[in-house]
C-alpha cells in the first residue's frame, strides 16, 4: 500500500522531507506512519483528505496524509 505524505512546518526538518510517497508491505495505521517518518513523539494533527484521523485509523491506498504541528493561529 502506498500513501502520499506531506509534512508541515518545522516537522519537515525533523522528518527530513516535506512531501513523498511512503509504501507499506500490507496495511498500516496513521500511528504506524508517524513512527515510520520519525515524528511519533511530537504533538501533531494528522489529516486525510482534509479530515483529521486518529493514530489507530487505518490508511488506504492512495491517501494523501498531512502531518502538521498543532498550530494555534499565531
Amino acid at each position: 500500500m502506498k500513501v502520499t505524505v506531506k509534512v508541515i512546518g518545522p516537522l519537515a526538518y525533523a522528518a527530513g522531507f516535506s512531501e513523498k510517497d511512503v509504501a507499506f508491505p500490507g496495511t498500516a495505521t496513521a500511528g504506524e506512519l508517524l513512527a515510520r517518518v520519525n515524528i511519533a513523539s511530537r504533538p501533531t494533527i494528522v489529516t486525510r483528505n482534509g479530515k483529521a484521523v486518529s493514530p489507530l485509523d487505518a490508511l488506504a491506498e492512495g491517501d494523501r496524509i498531512v502531518i502538521s504541528p498543532i498550530y494555534s493561529g499565531g
Binding site: I8, G9, G50, P69, G74
Partner: protein, 612 residues
C-alpha cells in the same frame, strides 16, 4: 502598591499641557493594565457618537504590571481609541521599546487628547514632556521617520510613529515601531494622524517598582533562556507563523481570491519553507527569545518582514504567489503605516467587486504591480479610487451596492484575518464574536475543531473553546500585557503568567482571577458597542454572508459542496451567548454586569440603550 508605577500621563495636544495622574490600587486590581485600562478609560471619558477622527477622541497607550520586565515576551504595548473603521472601541498591540521606556519614565499608560496645531513629535523623558515640531517628516513614510528619530535620539529610545496612511485618515492605518512592528488594526494610526501627532518618543530612567525584583529577575532570566531552548528544539521560528500556510492550503482553510477559494496549487511558492529559504534577516520584539519576524528582500530590494497574516492576505488572497512581490506589498503597507490584513482584504474585495460587476476598474487578481499603485492611492487618499480604498471593505461595499456587502470579508467593519471559514463553523464563530471585529488574535480554534470535534459540528463545545481562548488571549494576555506566542506556539505553561504577575505585584492571583478580569473586559467592550449602536442585533455577530452561500461552496477538495448553515450557526451563537451570560442580542445582562462589578457602567450604558 507594587508592579504598577501608579501613574498615568495625560497629554493635551491642543493646550500643550500635561499632567501625571495617580490611580488607585482598586483601579489597578480591577483593570490590571493594557486593554483593561483602555476599555475603562475610554468608556468613562468618551461620549458616544463622537467623531473618531476629531479632537474629542483619545489615544491610549497602555501597559501592564509585567510590561518591560525581563521575562518572556513582555515587550508589547496596547494602543486603543474609538475606531474610525468600526465606530466603537478598537485596539491592537505591538512590540516596542516604548513599553519599557514609558514604565521607566514612571507611567503605566499614556492618554493623548486634543489636536496639535502643526505636525508634532511628543517627547517624554521621565517628568519632562515636550511638544516638538515634526513638519520635517510629515508626509514621510514610517521608515524615514524612524531613521530621523534615531538620528536625533539614538536607537535606545521608545518610538511610536505613523506614515502617510495615518496622516491621511486611512481607516485601517496602524501605529508602527522598531521598523517592523505594527499595531492597532482598526485605525489607531489614523487617530494619531488626526491629532497631527507624527511620533511619540519615550525615554525613562527610573526603576519599575516590583514586590520581589530579585525573584522576578531570577525567574525571568531563566525563563527567557528556556523559551529560547524550546523554540530551538522544536524549530518553530524556522518558519514562524507562516508554517501554517501550507496546512491551511491542505485543509481548505486558506483565503484565495477574496476568500472565494480555499486552496491553490501555487501556494507552496509562498509557504513557510520558501520564506525560510528566502530569509535575509530575523527580527523580534524587546524581551523576546523566539523571534518571529522573517525578513526577505522584496521585488525592489527592500528588506520586508513577513508573517502568515500578511502573506495570506496580500499574497494568496490576491492570487499573488511570488514571495518577493508579496514582500513588496508588505513593505509598502509598513512604510505607509497600513494594516496589511485590512489592506489585503480591501484590495481583494475591490478586485472581486470589479469581477462581479458591482463597480468598474482596472484591477484584477494576481496583478501585483497595480496592487502596489493602489496601496499608494489609498495611503494618499488620492482620487476617487484612493478614497474608496482608504475607507475599508464595508464602506466600499455600501458605496458599490449591487449586493457587494455579501462578499465584503469583514465583521463589524474590521476585515477578516487569513483563515477561510467556508466550512469551519467554530472559527467562523470566533470571528463573529471577536470583541473588536474579525480579528484572529482573541480565539483561533481550527486545529481544535478538526482534531477534537467534527468539522460539521455546531455544538456547545466549540462555543466553550472560543470563550476559553478569549479569556486567555483577549483577556489575560492583552491586559497584563504579554505576547501569547510562548504559550500558544511552544506550550509554555499558562501558570507562568500569574507567577510573573504575583512576583511583581506581591498579590496572590490565580488563573481564575485572570478569567474574571477577562470577562469584565469583554463585557466592557460590549457596553462600548451597545452605547454606540443601541439597535444592536445578533446579526452583528455573524461572519461574512458569502460563507453561507451554497453557490460559493468549493466544487472539489476536502469540503466540496459544503458551506456554513445559517440556522445552525445561529444555534452555535446562542450557545456562546448562553455560556457567556449574554442576552439574545449578544449583550451582557444587567445581572452579569453586576456580578462582574460593573453596576455603574451598566447604569451609564442604560442611558443610551436597553439592558435586559
Amino acid at each position: 502598591m507594587y508592579g504598577w508605577t501608579g501613574r498615568i500621563l495625560r497629554v493635551d495636544l491642543t493646550t500643550r499641557t500635561h499632567r501625571a495622574e495617580p490611580f488607585s490600587e482598586e483601579f489597578a486590581k480591577t483593570w490590571v493594565g493594557g486593554r483593561g485600562f483602555a476599555v475603562k478609560i475610554l468608556f468613562d471619558e468618551l461620549k458616544p457618537g463622537i467623531d473618531p477622527l476629531g479632537p474629542e477622541n483619545k489615544l491610549i497607550v497602555a501597559l501592564g504590571p509585567i510590561s518591560g520586565i525581563p521575562a518572556p515576551t513582555t515587550g508589547k504595548a496596547v494602543v486603543a481609541a474609538k475606531s474610525p473603521l468600526t465606530g466603537f472601541y478598537g485596539d491592537g498591540n505591538l512590540g516596542t521599546r516604548v513599553t519599557e521606556q514609558l514604565r521607566k519614565a514612571g507611567y503605566d499608560a499614556l492618554i493623548v487628547e486634543g489636536r496639535a496645531e502643526r505636525p508634532t513629535l511628543l517627547y517624554i523623558e521621565d517628568d519632562t514632556v515636550e511638544f516638538l515640531p515634526a513638519d520635517e517628516v510629515w508626509g514621510q513614510g514610517t521608515f524615514a521617520t524612524n531613521d530621523w528619530i534615531y538620528a536625533k535620539y539614538g536607537k535606545g529610545v521608545g518610538v511610536l510613529n505613523i506614515g502617510q496612511g495615518g496622516e491621511n485618515g486611512v481607516r485601517y492605518a496602524t501605529i508602527r515601531s522598531m521598523e517592523g512592528r505594527s499595531g492597532g488594526r482598526p485605525g489607531m494610526g489614523a487617530v494619531m494622524g488626526s491629532k497631527l501627532l507624527k511620533a511619540i518618543v519615550v525615554k525613562g530612567t527610573r526603576p519599575i517598582p516590583q514586590a520581589n525584583a530579585a525573584g522576578m529577575k531570577a525567574v525571568g532570566t531563566a525563563d527567557l533562556k528556556m523559551v529560547h531552548q524550546i523554540d530551538k528544539d522544536t524549530g518553530w521560528s524556522r518558519q514562524s507563523t507562516n508554517g501554517v500556510l501550507a496546512w491551511c492550503n491542505e485543509v481548505a482553510g486558506l483565503p484565495v481570491q477574496n476568500f472565494r477559494k480555499t486552496s491553490h496549487t501555487e501556494a507552496w511558492k509562498i509557504d513557510g519553507q520558501r520564506l525560510d529559504e528566502a530569509r535575509v534577516a530575523t527580527y523580534g520584539c524587546p524581551t523576546c527569545t523566539m523571534r518571529c519576524g522573517i525578513a526577505i528582500h522584496d521585488k525592489e530590494g527592500h528588506e520586508s518582514e513577513l508573517d502568515y497574516e500578511n502573506i495570506g492576505l496580500l499574497g494568496a488572497n490576491l492570487n499573488i504567489f511570488e514571495l518577493d512581490q508579496v514582500g513588496s506589498l508588505n513593505y509598502l503597507c509598513d512604510d505607509y503605516g497600513l494594516d496589511t490584513m485590512s489592506a489585503g482584504c480591501t484590495l481583494s474585495f475591490y478586485a472581486d467587486a470589479i469581477a462581479h460587476g458591482a463597480t468598474t476598474g482596472d484591477f484584477t487578481f494576481g496583478d501585483a504591480e497595480r496592487a502596489k499603485e493602489l496601496l499608494g492611492l489609498a495611503a494618499r487618499r488620492e482620487g476617487p479610487v484612493g478614497n474608496l480604498l482608504a475607507d475599508g471593505t464595508l464602506r466600499m461595499a455600501r458605496a458599490f451596492g449591487h449586493g457587494a456587502e455579501q462578499y465584503a470579508m469583514q465583521v463589524k467593519g474590521l476585515e477578516v484575518a487569513a483563515y477561510n471559514c467556508k466550512f469551519i463553523p467554530g472559527m467562523a464563530l470566533a470571528f463573529g464574536v471577536a470583541a473588536i471585529g474579525a480579528h484572529h488574535r482573541e480565539a483561533w480554534i481550527i486545529t481544535f475543531e478538526l482534531k477534537n470535534t467534527t468539522r460539521d459540528s455546531y455544538g456547545p463545545e466549540k462555543a466553550a473553546k472560543v470563550i476559553e481562548l478569549q479569556r486567555i488571549r483577549g483577556g489575560m494576555f492583552e491586559s497584563i500585557v504579554s505576547c501569547r506566542f510562548p504559550w500558544i506556539e511552544l506550550g509554555w505553561s499558562l501558570d507562568n503568567y500569574p507567577k510573573y504577575f504575583n512576583l511583581v505585584t506581591g498579590l496572590d492571583w490565580t488563573l481564575d482571577d485572570m478569567w474574571r478580569l477577562a470577562d469584565r473586559v469583554y463585557a466592557m467592550i460590549k457596553l462600548h458597542y451597545l452605547r454606540e449602536f443601541p439597535n444592536v442585533t445578533r446579526q452583528d455577530d455573524y461572519p461574512p454572508a458569502v460563507w453561507f452561500d451554497p453557490e460559493n461552496a468549493d466544487t472539489e477538495g476536502p469540503i466540496a459542496h459544503m458551506h456554513l448553515e445559517a440556522d445552525k450557526y445561529d444555534q452555535l451563537l446562542q450557545h456562546y451567548y448562553d455560556q457567556r451570560g449574554y442576552d439574545r442580542r449578544g449583550i451582557p445582562t444587567r445581572k452579569l454586569l453586576e456580578t462582574l462589578g460593573l453596576s455603574r457602567e451598566a447604569d451609564e450604558a442604560a442611558r443610551y440603550a436597553t439592558l435586559t
